[in-house]
């Protein structure tokens, strides 16, 4: 499973310009921003139904550690996401169900094509999903440790 995730990340966020209409640097920056937003979202840990604040903190710390090890190269973080995209990325990451036609129209008015919006949306979704996957895996490893001890 993790291998497939790595392949997905490599294919979509990799350095192959022909793979998309947006630049790989932009896709990586969006993915990293969404991952950060997800990490900051306290609900991510709450959703896991962690049994105590201590456990939640441990899970978050582990997830952050995993994300750090798994994060894109430094060049990605040096690329800043355009301001026009920030609100949209936040919405896709934290409240995807609240994205409306108006959000899409506003970005089209700002000059983004549908293909670009497709890639921007996928980048944000991958960033959010990667963090939540890592948090879930961290929770599982904590569970195993608890049962083993």
């Amino acid at each position: 499973m993790l291998n497939q995730v790595r392949t997905l990340l490599g294919a979509f966020l990799g350095d192959k310009p022909n793979h998309g209409v947006t630049s790989p640097a932009l896709r990586r920056a969006i993915e990293a921003q969404a991952a950060q937003l997800s990490r900051d979202d306290r609900a991510t840990a709450t959703v896991l139904n962690a049994r105590s604040a201590q456990l939640r903190r441990t899970i978050e710390a582990q997830a952050a550690q995993i994300n750090q090890a798994d994060s894109p190269p430094a060049s990605a973080s040096s690329f800043s996401v355009p301001t026009a995209l920030e609100a949209y990325i936040r919405k896709v990451t934290l409240h995807a169900d609240k994205v409306t036609d108006n959000d899409i129209e506003a970005l089209k008015q700002a000059g983004y094509s549908e293909d670009e919006l497709f890639e921007i949306t996928i980048s944000a979704a991958i960033g959010a999903a990667r963090t939540r996957l890592n948090v879930g895996l961290a929770a599982l490893s904590i569970e195993e440790d608890i049962h083993a001890s």
């Binding site: 979509f12 549908e114 919006l117 497709f118």
Partner: protein, 59 residues
């Protein structure tokens, strides 16, 4: 779909299949449209993730 390319931007073969699905069921599932659009970029790899998550051993 909010992006029109996901309704009408697919290659001929998937577009044909989608037209059949549309005629039979009256709607096109969103995940199918997303995963089939420019598969080499995203859908092919994401489908592999889903396959692994749902079908492979959990250990």
């Amino acid at each position: 779909m909010r992006l029109k390319i996901l309704d009408h931007g697919h290659r001929p073969l998937p577009q044909f299949v989608f037209n059949v699905i549309w005629r039979v069921t009256g709607f096109l599932p969103g995940p199918l449209a997303v995963n089939s659009y420019r598969r080499e970029l995203f859908g092919r790899h994401f489908s592999a993730c889903i396959q692994a998550a749902l079908r492979e051993s959990s250990t």
